[in-house]
Subunit: 232 residues, 2 copies
Amino acid sequence: MVNAGKAGPRRSGRPRSGEERLSRQAILEAALRIVDDEGIEAMTMRRLAATLGVNPMSIYHHLPNKAAVFAGLAELVFADVDSPDPGDAVPWQDQLKGAARAYRNALRAHPNLALQVLSDTSAVSDVVVTTVEPFYRALDRAGLSPRQIFESVNTLIDFIHGFSLGEAAVRADTFDLAPDLLTRVQNLPSGKAPTLTRVVESLGEEGLHYDFSEGFESGLTTLVNGFTATWT
Amino acid sequence: MVNAGKAGPRRSGRPRSGEERLSRQAILEAALRIVDDEGIEAMTMRRLAATLGVNPMSIYHHLPNKAAVFAGLAELVFADVDSPDPGDAVPWQDQLKGAARAYRNALRAHPNLALQVLSDTSAVSDVVVTTVEPFYRALDRAGLSPRQIFESVNTLIDFIHGFSLGEAAVRADTFDLAPDLLTRVQNLPSGKAPTLTRVVESLGEEGLHYDFSEGFESGLTTLVNGFTATWT
DNA sequence: AGCATTAACCATACGTCGTATGGTACAGAA
DNA sequence: TTCTGTACCATACGACGTATGGTTAATGCT
């Protein structure tokens, strides 16, 4: 007879009703914490089990494998896309920009997860599909054809994905490339990149620092202007 | 005295002059083959050593760790960016598009590597930096300010990155979403995505299939038009 | 009520991974 | 000739994902 104490923390076998320690939800929440706090490579099944106070194999009763854990996390991220939908009172351009900002913000909320989310094709669930609806709505209101809407949404989302990838890699809201990139560019084999060198030097004079939000807005404006110029 | 035979395939100790079996170059080439043929997860140090006919630890005399192998592969990819540079006879718009196509093609050449390349910030070497020069040149000729050039290049490259990420995930030149996406969209909780549903259904009527190259050109046109409309 | 099934946990173990450590044989410099 | 460094190999360690097979409690069936 091992562990006869009622409150013994170590038990074997199925827990009594209401004493279950695991659930899909709880597991995913713990996994998200690990990823956010310590990075994606820290999220191992054993580590996850440890933070849940549970044997590693127990997790497999709620999720089939590690890939499913990450797919679940991706769903969480997309579920957090908070589309404002200010109604159709607002111009379609602003509607589209709002949707794009919401999408970016969701990816930005968990930078360590961004790469996983953007690369996991199996995570394209209903959640993701409905996430893009606001983009379609805004462009529909702009009067584009279905084909034009389709291509435009793809272009815009590709931009957001690429942007978020870069943003997640840097892990800061702002980015000083002042001495870093500048000296590197100047140390290039002479004449390899004259225009780049000139541009970076010129930017260096105004005390260059890159702000991701400004960069995002700039790209967004370019794209919206591009849609207008191209389709009308 | 083990292995006294002159041609014995198993030897220990340093090989005789001219008989070295490894080099950084040879290792990276073998690694690239593995990634291309069998996917990125097949590229393990042990597997790599096996294809080179060598003990796993021998690789570490030429590259410090596995991450360095992938960084080297990323360099190879960027070194393959084949910027056409048709001179300044061509309009800057076409110059810019040509640079973008070359960049995309380099990423497309090794789809299994794309994710790694796009996420590995440590691989941003001189090779990568010089790779973007054609973008800067074209936009400089367009008469933009340094700041405008900088933002525009970032936007364009972010788009290419996002696009390539999607393209690499699908691994085909063309993409039939006809029944797949269509039925999924129609099975959504009613009213969740009305515009999306309508657009996809409408596209389904014309026998929808998505062509990545067409999609890329579409995005490119939008961006170039956007730069023109925004900065001038 | 009794019994079989299933669900939720744990223990052990297997094969694979990256790579630390420490050899051994040759090359080139002193 | 001796010393130092280089390019290989052998062994081993700890961590990983997860297959297998317990044990116990809840649940469904009769």
